[in-house]
Every structure is written in C-alpha cells, then in structure tokens.
C-alpha cells in the first residue's frame, strides 16, 4: 500500500502534472462561478484535453477541475444569489444575505475554507474507510432509494422558503416536469404533445439555469433606479480577513465534521451527490443549532454546512467508483470514461491491478484541494471585483453566459426556448414566494425516484407493502412523514387554533 502511495505521489508531484492541475483548478473555479456552467460541463470540456496525457495525469487534472468547480459554485451563489452549480443551492441561503449585508469577503472566505476542509476530510475517509462505506451504499435497493428521495424532497420542501405547502407544491411540480419526455425505463414519450421541443424531455440543467439564473437576473432589474445606489450588485465596502475566517471555520468543528460526513455518505450513494448533500448538511446544521432562526439571514454555520457538505461529496463519490466501478454522479462517470479511454478497467480490481493509479488519485485529491485553496486565497480579491461591476454589464452578460451554457449542453437551439419559458415560470413562482430549490431537486430526482419505484415494484410483483416492510425504506418514509407532521406542529404551536396558519404561511 505504501509503495503504491509513493508511486502515485511521484507521478502527481511531477512538475508538468502540477502545472496542468493548477490550470485545471483555475478553470474549474471560473467555470463554476459562471451560472449555467456546471462542474460537469467544465469536466466534459476538459476531457478531450487529457487524451494526450498519461492516465493519472489526465485524471489528476480532471480532479482539480472537479474540486475547483465545487468551490467555484459558491462565488456566484454568494455574490449574485445564483447557485453556480446545483451543489451550491444551500450556499445562497446564508452566503448571499451575508454578502448583501456588507460582508461578501467573509462569505467567500467561509465557503473556501469550508470547501477545503470538507475535501480533506472526505479524502481521509476515502482512503481509510472506502470499502465498508461503499458496501453499505451499494446494498441499498430500489425501495430504499425511492424512500430516500421522498425523504430528501420532503426535507427540502420544508427547509426552504416560508411555506411548507408551497415548498411541497414546488417539489411535486419538479417531479412532474421530470416526467415530460422519454420514460426512463422503456423510452416511451410522455406528455410531449408531439412537440419537438419537449420530445427529448426537460434537461435538468436547463431547468436549473432557467429557474434560478434567468429569474434571478430578471429580479435584479426590478424597480431599477430606485433602490440602487451605484448600480453595483453589492455596493458596500468589503472587509476581507482570510486567516481570521479560517479560525472562524475551525471554531465550528462539529458542524464542519458532521457536514463533511453527510457529504461523504451522500456522495457515496450512486445518483445522489452534492445537490442533495449541501441541502441535507444545511438542514442538519440548522436543526442542531442553538439559533436556528438565524439561518437564512447570513449565519456562518449555514455557509460552512453547505460548502463542507458539497465539497465532501467529491471524495465520497469516488468511493463506489474506485471500489466497485459504479459512478456516483455524472462527473464520476466522466472520470471513469477518462480512465477507460486509457484502457484502464474501473472496478473492484482497480486497486489490485493499478494500485499506484488508485492511490495516486487520492493524492491528487489532496493536492487539488490545496491548489484550490491557494488559488482562491490569492485571487479572491479578483473575484470580489464582480461586486464593482455595474448591473448594466453583469446582468446581460451573465444572461448570455446562461444562454451559452444551455446551448453547449446539447447543441440544441430548442433548449434555449425551454430556457426562456422556464425562466419566466421561475420568475413568476419567485414573485409569488414559491421556493425554487424543491422544484429543481424534483426535476433532478424525478427520474431516479421513478426508476427505483418501478424497479422495486417489479421485484415485489407489484406489492407496495415492500416499501413499508423493508426496514430502511420504512425508516426513510416514516421520517419523511414525521418531518412533515413535526413541521406542521411547530408552525401551529406558537399561535393557537391555527393549523390553517401552518398550511397558509
């Protein structure tokens, strides 16, 4: 094992590899900072560039884009209130209010340090506990998966926004939107109304960009000229203390470690990734906090939980990929494809046959997170310049970046029409105080939920009781139900005689 570690480290610490990784780190941060450009897209764009490299060098560069990308998403989340990636949705809840409250530097620093520690913790767990964790994750069957998704959606619906009912409606609308297009099991077209635009379904990235980015950009120019001081998005003076913020992050060890562990576990579940981990970690931090009412108003705990949670999925996602050849996310699937291009079979024998490669990837994760940290610390002031750019430049150009991101995904102009329509719907929903995160999560998780529900029923010969008789599935469903009831009870308790209040507000 030690020999493999050293051999892997030797390759990673080669000068040219380090240079390529540094470029990858910067590219990942910049790409994810642009709304609409996800980590997945950045890695897809990187893949062809690594064909001429060796397997470990190529994968190391992609890992640095991956790690950088998970951090880059927080930049637009904190400064613009637009999650650069699905993984930074929860980051907007507190980082954005903190930035709007005059502390954009602190919001970014908190995110960067939390991401760094989250990645390091997840890599340590990846190295030490990969086999048993992967075994647990892989043992989850379709009943458990479906129940997990119901549980996750319920939490998200009640977590964000001011109304549980509107949160649930938004989540179910998301599930409904995900049913448009080909059926995930048999490929039969559904609810397409024979429209060419709807025939391929609604790609979740288009929904994400439309719902979050376009609606946010439209919101930015509301009542233009009245509330704006200089036209800048964050007009206040920036105070930025990197090392003080590092200490601040370390002063929340329980939140940091808990969020990282949630990220590792969720990342290790195939199909579940940073998009769920950041919300679950945020929820746990909120529920464990002595001051839960501070969440959503710019509390550091919220930023730490979200960023440590989403960054830790990077290490968690590699667990099933390296141990079993099952990619935990789209990004892991691309990493796997990159290895296969080089003729390396990814599966249980990877550690046995290519130990230096597997352990080299662990080393590369650590190096990539260090590079991300250095790049962010040294260049964060440049990112903060975004705050000086007037709306007249930033709103239209970010909108163009969204259009490019939506187009580059599938090279389909029709996706852009979907983008516009979904953006308008998102703006309408936002104006009526519907939370948007449950809708996007519903779109992402809808096909996974449906596939697992149908598989589970196939295995149980159509017997729905299997979801209740299975202990893990029953636990998740029970927790979801208990959570909804508890939320209703909590809303009713302060003011007597009003379950109506719980349903209404």
């Amino acid at each position: 094992m030690l020999d493999a570690f050293l051999a892997g480290a030797h390759q990673v610490f080669a000068f040219d590899t380090l240079i390529y990784m540094l470029i990858g780190s910067v590219a990942g941060i910049v790409a994810a900072a642009i709304p609409g450009f996800t980590v997945t897209m950045a890695i897809i764009l990187t893949l062809p560039l690594t064909f001429t490299m060796g397997p470990l060098q190529g994968v190391s560069v992609m890992l640095s884009v991956y790690v950088g990308g998970y951090t880059g998403g927080l930049i637009s989340a904190a400064l613009l209130g637009i999650p650069g990636t699905p993984s930074s949705v929860a980051t907007t809840f507190d980082a954005f209010p903190m930035a709007r409250g005059g502390e954009p530097g602190r919001a970014l620093s908190l995110g960067v340090w939390s991401s760094f520690f989250g990645t390091i913790i997840s890599t340590i767990i990846l190295i030490v506990a990969a086999p048993p964790l992967a075994l647990i994750a892989v043992k989850l069957g379709p009943w458990e998966y479906f129940s997990l998704i119901v549980f996750a959606l319920t939490i998200v619906a009640s977590l964000v926004g001011n109304s549980l009912m509107r949160g649930l409606i938004a989540g179910v609308i998301g599930l409904g939107l995900a049913t448009i297009g080909p059926d995930p099991m048999m490929g039969r077209p559904r609810l397409t109304f024979e429209s060419d635009i709807l025939m391929p379904g609604l790609p979740f990235l288009i929904v994400l960009i439309g719902i979050f980015a376009i609606s946010q950009l439209m919101g930015e120019v509301e009542d233009h000229g009245k509330s704006d001081k200089k036209g800048a998005l964050i007009p206040d003076v920036i105070e930025f203390k990197t090392w003080a913020v590092m200490r601040e992050v370390l002063m929340h060890p329980v939140n940091l470690v808990r969020s990282s562990l949630i990220g590792v576990f969720i990342g290790a579940l195939p199909g579940a990734g940073g998009s769920i981990a950041n919300l679950l970690a945020y929820d746990q931090a909120k529920r464990s906090s002595k001051n839960p009412e501070e969440f959503g108003k710019g509390t550091p705990d919220g930023v730490i939980a979200s960023e440590a949670g989403n960054s830790a999925t990077a290490g968690g996602g590699l667990i099933p990929m390296i141990a079993l050849g099952i990619p935990g996310s789209a990004v892991d699937a691309i990493l796997m494809a990159a290895l296969m291009v080089h003729g390396i079979s990814v599966g249980p024998r990877l550690i046995m046959d290519n130990a230096d490669l597997a352990y080299g990837m662990f080393v590369a994760m650590v190096v990539a997170s260090l590079m991300m940290l250095v790049v962010c610390v040294l260049s964060m002031r440049l990112f903060l310049r975004v705050t000086d750019i007037p709306k007249q430049f930033i709103v239209p150009t970010v909108m163009i970046c969204c259009v490019i991101g939506a187009f580059a995904l599938n090279n389909r102009v029709t996706d852009l029409y979907l983008l516009g329509a979904i953006g308008l719907v998102g703006y309408g929903l936002k104006s009526l105080d519907y939370p948007l995160a449950p809708l996007v999560l519903g779109v992402i998780l809808g096909p996974i939920a449906e596939t697992n529900l149908r598989r589970g029923l196939m295995l149980s010969d159509g017997n729905f009781a299997a979801f209740v008789s299975n202990p893990i599935a029953a636990t998740f469903l029970g927790l979801a139900l208990a959570f909804v009831l508890w939320q209703l009870y909590s809303a009713v308790r302060p003011r007597s005689g009003a379950i109506a209040q719980a349903l209404r507000t």
Partner: protein
Amino acid sequence: MTNGTEKSAAADASASAASRARTEFARLISYIVFGLGSVYLSLRAGELPTSRWEPLGAGSFPQLVFAVLAVLCLITAVRAIIDIRKAGRLDGLLEGLCGWLKVRRFSFALFGLLVVYLGVLPIAGFSLATFVFLLITQLMIAGISKKTVIQSVIAALIFSVGLNLLFAEVFNVFLPRGMLFAG
C-alpha cells in the same frame, strides 16, 4: 394628536390587510392554474398504455405525481380562500396589478428582449444577435449617454464576437450560426 396617530395606524393596518389579501389572491390564482393543469396532465398520463412487463406502466408515475399535485393545490387553495375571507377586503386589485407591473417593467422588458434574441439567434447567428441584444439591454439599464454608449459597445463586442471566438477556437464549441450571418 393621539387620535390622528390611531387613525394613521388603523389606515396602515387596513392597507396591509388589503395588500396581504391581494397577494393571497394572486397565489390562489396560481393554485387554481396548477391544480387544473395537474388534473389535465394526470388524465393525459392515464391515457398512456400500460406495460406487459412491469406493474407500473409509463403513465402511472406521472399520473400519481400530478394527482398528488392536484390534491396539494386543492388544500392550499381552500386555505387561501378562507384567509382572503378572513382578511375581509379585496379592493384595489387593478391598482395593485398596475403597481406590480410598474415595479417589474424592466424585468419584463429584459425578458421580452431575451425572447426576441432567442428567436433571432438562429437567423442572425450568435455574434450579431448577441451584440445587438447586449447593446440594447445595457443601454436600457444604464440609460443613454456618450459614456454608456461607448462602454456598452465595447462590452457587447467582447461578449459577442469575443466569446464566439473563444468557444470556437479554445473549447471547440460552435455557437449557433445564422442563416443570414455565419458568425
């Protein structure tokens, strides 16, 4: 003096109640739209053929999802109606709508320009369509002056022609080419 303050507070409370009622009314419309839409989609999904190979066919899941959505919308709509009745007043709907639209006039103008831009994109090509879109939107937000025109033209050139070149040359991603203009 006290009497005047009380009257002012009562007027504020009344205006606030009316505003809440108007907001709730707008939400009620959304619940009705989503509810009716989900009933329709649930029925359409039910028309999809069942599968021979599995207990649930292609239509079952969407049918279930839209049925749940319809129930949620119904419950929430009923609560909204009760709430509006409790508020007691629902006057000034037209003024409220006009005020709402006035505050958001730039947002809708921006969206309108986006729709036109997306429509023109396959005809004019990325560079030309984007240049015009950026120029108009930037001037709409910043206002027209010599300084803003120069700044907007430069920014529009960079983010239209420049981005197109960057994606084509560096990333091998070719943005939409127009029928009239290839760029």
